[in-house]
Amino acid sequence: MRGDLDGVRVLDLTREPGFFAGKLLGDLGADVVKIEPPGGDPARRRPPFWGGVVDPERSLLWLALNTSKRGITLDLDRPRGRALFLDLAGHADVVLETEAPGGMASRGLGWLALQAQNPRLVHCAITPFGQDGPRAGWRGSDLTVVAASGNLYSTGDPDRAPVRCTLPVSYYHGGIEAAVGVVFGLVAREQTGAGQHVDVALQEAMVMPNIGTAAMFKMTGNRGSRAGAFMRQEKSVAREIWPCRDGFVSFALRGGAARIPGLVAMVRYMDEHGMASPALKAMDWKTYNHNLLTQDEVDALSREFAAFFATKTTTELYHAACERNLMLAPINTPREITASVQLAAREFFVDVATTRGTLRYPGAFARSTAARIGIARPAPRLGEHTAEVLADLGLGAADVERLRAEGVV
């Protein structure tokens, strides 16, 4: 099967915040060429390393997010390196980069120069705050852009500081956003023949994960708040993360009419174990409206659910959830995720062969009846495809050897 982006050539200059964008384009079939400085991307030096062995080919961060790419080295701080990059850009469809605004232009590789070289080029830049505006020059990284997006403020416990996800979710959000921008740019080019500049800001990308509540402030006056394992809605605070016998599950009382069948099924399940009180069994679910409950009513309901969950394991509860349509899920770790029967049935995990051995990866982020989606090749070794890619520019082995001696590649 062909990928949707077969035949699209991407030059990927990104550091960590942009790795995912290039990987997604590669997973969709684009020929993504990762361009690293001759010393290698800094991610290659970052632990944890596969097997604990310090080796630029064993950084798990690097290996995780650079699959489906070829890789070359090129020193863009040298004139010859810049000239070669412009040649490559002349034959590419997309340039992806994460330089600070102005960083590419200071090397003579800004949008105007790239556009002059190749008017059909789509140039996508991912930065913390965007290419222009009062904070374009600010530094930013996952924690600080999430802090500036409203998303951090409402995550965590009320008695402690706002808290982030330990892995950098803004880079995943921003990576997908950038991939969307690139494909929109390619669709536009089909119509106009012209490329364009695509400016993706991570701060702004993290506002959408608030799912509308940021815009709603003007109507609700809700500035956000942290409730830890609980969630505040309307008049009450109710648990969302519940301890059970061997871990935690996610389950909620709120959610409007769509949630009620799950609540009814849960009470029936509890009753089969003799753990639904007469009051709970007598609930009139037809008129149940979480938004009207007092805190006392929420607490009374919660006590019963909590007592029941404490008698069950996450596996038992999730199994029941799938069988009985309970809206409940375990707080999974990679241990449970890699053992999932659902993911096994869908052959989600794939073994990727590398020169250092075989690694088990999450596979395709989606399926299609016509398009190939998923890991197309392992993450590149440092400079693995330098000779092969430069050969496209007509450079022979001797030329590449000379460039290597000069430190350009």
Binding site: G130, T144, V163, V200, E240, I337, A366
Partner: protein, 403 residues
């Protein structure tokens, strides 16, 4: 320049955020996005906070309103065969179909890909649900909170000495629309080039797990389960959120390397605790992270978060004030990018809606109309766009098909 998706029509079934936010990317760039809705089973966002007597009823839900700007709404009662027949006509006429019902719902109506493709070979359709369209747990009915838990985000969010928390906003509900927009754009790109259609199956849990590949590899390669560690980093310190003056005000500060640390120490005024040689390296700062965070927190606690962030940034330090939802409306950078755009809603009046985080040099995202009232555009879409004769429309209306 013309909007990139001007002239493209996308038909949308479903509700919540995971499906409907995806089509906004196209609507904000000229596409006509038509929601098929029903009073029999309204989008849960129209009912999430609904209380008896609320102004506008199903049309007064602000949560629905802020996510569904720029769309049209057609009301069709899919429990009646004639309602399904109209939906089918629309699906075959549109350029693409997006749906996020539970697996099997579309098939029950004969509106699934396998049924539709018989009459339209180049159909582009995306289906998204928590666990995907196949497999033993495909019918599992959770919301985004459950998707986030299944995919592994909750386990990684919170404090190591406490129970996990969810990243605010149920993260698979925000990752999935992005994946869906990417896949739909890719499919439309392919069809323009090759004429081929396709059906896409996006499992929101699988998409989330692909994001967390680093965590999965750390387990499959090394047998190690990464666990939540508050705001700390495994690689550098300080990397945290510190109290500021005022009620629940905070600043995020990140040191990436020794140069950053020296810059920060200079802003601190070179106090004795910070100039200790043992803190000159990442290893030293990580070993003494408790003490470093405590001293830094004492220093920040008397200062204004916004002013301190400006001050630190001016010195080249990566720092931002922690913004709440009110602050975002005063944020000069979001204002510069036009993130919030104001629309006039029939029930709610003037309110802000949000666009995405992409700015194209050729065209700007534009929010031109408020979210639709349920069925607001039934007549317009069926008669004007689809070309249904007026008498046929009247007959179906009388039969209760548009409810």
């Amino acid at each position: 320049m013309t909007d990139v998706f001007a002239g493209t029509t996308i038909l949308e079934f479903g509700g919540g955020a995971a499906g409907p936010v995806a089509t906004r990317y196209f609507a904000d760039h000229g596409a006509t996005v038509i929601r098929v809705e029903s009073r029999q089973r309204p989008d849960f966002l129209r009912t999430l906070r609904l209380t008896p007597g609320a102004p506008g009823g199903l049309d007064g839900a602000h949560h629905f309103a802020v996510l569904n700007a720029n769309k049209l709404s057609v009301a069709l009662n899919l429990s009646k065969p004639e309602g399904v027949a109209v939906a089918r006509q629309l699906a075959l006429w549109a350029d693409a179909v997006a749906e996020n019902f539970a697996p099997g719902a579309m098939a029950k109506w004969g509106l699934d890909y396998a049924s539709l493709v018989k009459d339209r070979a180049d159909l582009v359709m995306i289906s998204t649900c928590l666990n995907g369209q196949t497999g033993p747990e495909r019918h599992y009915p959770g919301f985004g909170g459950q998707g986030s838990a299944l995919a592994g985000f909750n386990h990684l969010t919170g404090w190591p000495d406490r129970e996990p928390v969810g990243p605010f906003g149920t993260i698979t509900d925000s990752l999935s629309p992005r994946f869906a927009a990417l896949l739909l754009a890719g499919a439309l790109f392919r069809r323009r080039r090759t004429g081929e259609g396709q059906h896409i199956d996006l499992s929101q849990v699988e998409g989330g797990i692909v994001c967390l590949t680093e965590s999965i590899l750390t387990y499959t390669a090394n047998g190690e389960v990464l666990t939540r560690m508050g705001n700390r980093s495994r690689h550098e310190a300080p990397h945290g959120v510190f109290p500021c003056a005022g009620k629940d005000r905070w600043i995020a500060i990140v040191v990436h390397d020794d140069d950053d640390w020296r810059r920060l120490v200079r802003v601190l005024g070179d106090p004795a605790w910070a100039t200790a040689p043992s803190l000159a390296t990442p290893a030293g700062r990580l070993t003494q992270v408790d003490e470093v965070e405590k001293c830094l927190g004492e220093w920040t606690s008397t200062q204004d978060a916004g002013a301190l962030a400006e001050h630190l940034q001016a010195a080249g330090v990566d720092a931002t004030a922690v913004a709440d939802f009110a602050d975002l409306h005063e944020d000069p950078q979001l204002a510069h990018r036009g993130h919030f755009q104001s629309v006039e809603h029939a029930v709610l009046g003037r309110h802000p809606a949000e666009t995405h985080a992409i700015r194209f040099s050729a065209t700007a995202p534009r929010i031109h109309s408020a979210a639709p009232r349920l069925g607001e555009h039934t007549e317009h879409v069926l008669q004007r766009l689809l070309g249904m004769p007026a008498d046929e429309y009247a007959r179906l209306a009388a039969a209760g098909i548009f409810e």
